[in-house]
């Protein structure tokens, strides 16, 4: 929220900034910077917290509907108070620390996890003038903070002094580090194309429309679409979501690194997981889906933050939909997918992007050649790698005794 709103913007666009200024005018000048930061932090925590609360409800409702049942509908109108009932339940539960556990680390793990996941919210541009911290290396900062959550997960597994927790923590490390690579490689083309690591810069580079209806979002280029898919698959794995929820594979590892946690600490782990999911969705929106940009010129009357919210909710719905559909992978399948499939594809995608950028001046019929070559560069390796990896594996024939 550092960039001051321009007076030419419509009132809805300036509203958050105006509110902030109105609140700050009551304070003396020397403490305004501090109050400004506190307001921003408070807003982020409130919005993220409420989003988490209602996301759990939405998830349960949608999962229910997909399984042809109504989902929670007893607490309040349509079950809208369910998240708060869950919260009260979690708060009143006994907090159990195993005798053999390391009490300090056991306490610090959820705190560190939630701290690192909240940190990632700092650099996402939520609207035209709504970016909490303007950083030149914002994307780098985002992924650094996100990667630090792995430390907290391992802390939880190690400090619990429980073999399931430790096994799960090892798995989590293997998974998170494996998927860190495709995640990072998938956004490098974006940096290559926009020439900036700043999130506001990346969103600004996606402004405008071709022929007044096709937005300049990066997902509408061949390499952008491929990068987006790789990013989302890696994001699924990074946020421990199904089908990559191996660290908590309850059929194998009880509750994974959460085995020895109860009450509010347990809730904090879940909160961090959802925060991570929201942050990665927000980053996907920023990198590939044009951030807060409206999809069509005449839709710009709707304020930018509403567009950002709509896009992020759409991606979160996708997360829930995938969770309702796909069964969990095995650990070897999981790492194989990362190292043998996503990483090579992401590397090839880098080359595709280089080709795309080098051929930017091509026009006329050459434009068709450019699209054809780029699409072939995306689809060819995908098909070849897919064929090679699944050779000898599929389709299985089942024989019943």
């Amino acid at each position: 929220m550092n960039a001051g709103p321009a007076a030419s913007d419509p009132i809805l666009e300036r509203l958050p900034g105006l509110l902030r200024d109105w609140l700050l005018q009551w304070l003396p000048e020397p403490v305004r910077w501090l109050a400004n930061s506190l307001i921003v932090i408070g807003c982020i925590l409130a919005v993220a917290g409420l989003l988490f609360a209602f996301l759990t409800l939405a998830e349960r409702k949608i999962l229910g509907r997909i399984q042809n049942r109504p989902g929670p509908n007893r607490t309040g109108w349509f079950g809208l108070l369910q998240p708060f009932a869950d919260g009260i339940k979690m708060l009143t539960k006994e907090d159990i620390v195993p005798r053999a556990a390391d009490p300090v680390l056991h306490l610090l793990a959820p705190v560190a996890l939630i701290a690192f996941s909240v940190l990632t919210f700092a650099v996402i541009p939520y609207g035209r003038h709504l970016v909490p911290v303007e950083l030149d290396g914002a994307v780098l900062y985002f992924f650094a903070a996100g990667a630090a959550t792995e430390l907290a997960v391992f802390m939880a597994g190690w400090s619990s002094h429980n073999k399931f927790a430790l096994l799960a923590a090892m798995r989590a490390l293997a998974q998170l580090i494996s998927y860190e690579l495709p995640l990072l490689l998938s956004f490098v083309p974006v940096v290559l194309a926009t020439g900036t690591l700043s999130t506001t810069g990346i969103v600004a580079a996606q402004a405008g429309w071709r022929w007044h209806f096709l937005p300049h979002w990066l997902v509408f280029t061949p390499w952008g679409a491929a990068g987006f898919v790789i990013f989302m698959v890696s994001a699924l794995a990074e946020s421990n979501r199904s089908p990559f929820d191996l660290p908590e594979a309850e059929s194998e590892l009880i509750a994974g690194h959460l085995t020895e946690y109860s009450g509010f600490k347990y809730a904090l782990f879940f909160m961090a997981e959802y925060f991570g999911m929201c942050a990665l969705s927000g980053m996907a929106v920023t990198l590939f889906l044009g951030g807060w940009q409206a999809p069509l010129p005449f839709l710009e009357v709707i304020p930018s933050y509403a567009w950002f919210a709509a896009k992020i909710l759409l991606l979160l719905l996708g997360f829930i939909w995938i969770r309702a559909t796909l069964p969990r992978l095995r650990i070897d399948q999981l790492t194989r997918l990362a190292w043998k499939f996503l990483v090579p594809l992401a590397l090839v995608n880098l080359g595709t992007t280089a080709f795309w950028l080098l051929t930017a001046p091509w026009a006329g019929p050459l434009q068709v050649v450019r699209w054809a070559v780029a699409l072939a560069l995306v689809a060819g390796p995908f098909l070849a790698l897919g064929r090679g990896l699944s050779a000898g594996l599929g389709p299985r024939t089942y024989r019943y005794a």
Partner: protein, 203 residues
């Protein structure tokens, strides 16, 4: 092609998500306390005592306190005390009645043996399953007032069995009435000269 299976799966879940809103056949959940599904006729859990009518359940119990069910009950959850006096049953014949008839539901195993051994069709299986109580001992021991339910209720929950029982009881009653009438007619008629012994009283 690689990945099409995933998309097919996503299509299936999406179809279910949308279908649950407009297709009631898909949406199988019953909102239990407000809505109830009709229990199948053969469903049974604990026994109840049949009375002829709902107005005077204690006066019209079919049970004659013969104690066969008490003796046959495998977990011995039935406790009966016979009455000292006799009351007229549905056929007008004086019968004993149970002064105390208790069933401990905590012990009952829903085997239906009491129903099968009862010669008077006086005990039948109920369908009530909401029997949770706050009191562990006395709350689950039902006395005869709690156990007595009218025949109309039995007809409602087990229509086939009730029709069969009602038919049989009506036939018995008719036979008894015919016999009584025949006996009365025989009494009224002039005695034949052979001086037969008097007909036995109606059973």
């Amino acid at each position: 092609m690689l990945g099409t299976g995933l998309l097919q799966g996503l299509a299936v879940t999406a179809r279910n998500l949308l279908g649950s809103f407009h297709d009631p056949k898909r949406f199988v959940t019953t909102q239990y306390p407000e809505e109830r599904t009709k229990l199948p006729e053969a469903y049974r859990n604990f026994p109840f005592l049949v009375s002829e009518n709902a107005v005077d359940p204690m006066g019209t119990l079919r049970c004659v306190a013969c104690q066969i069910c008490e003796k046959e009950c495998p977990p011995q959850c039935i406790y009966i005390e016979k009455s000292k006096d006799k009351k007229a049953d549905a056929n007008g014949k004086p019968q004993l009645y149970p002064a105390v008839f208790d069933i401990d539901l905590a012990v009952c195993m829903s085997c239906q043996i009491c129903v099968e051994v009862c010669p008077f069709d006086a005990i039948k299986m109920d369908q009530v399953f909401e029997l949770a109580t706050a009191e562990r001992f006395n709350g689950l021991v039902l006395n005869r007032e709690a156990l007595a339910k009218p025949n109309s209720y039995f007809q409602e929950i087990h229509p086939t069995e009730a029709a069969e029982v009602d038919g049989r009881l009506a036939a018995d009653r008719k036979a008894a009435e015919d016999k009584a009438r025949a006996a009365a007619a025989a009494k009224a008629a002039p005695k034949p000269p052979s001086a037969l012994p008097p007909p036995p009283p109606a059973a």
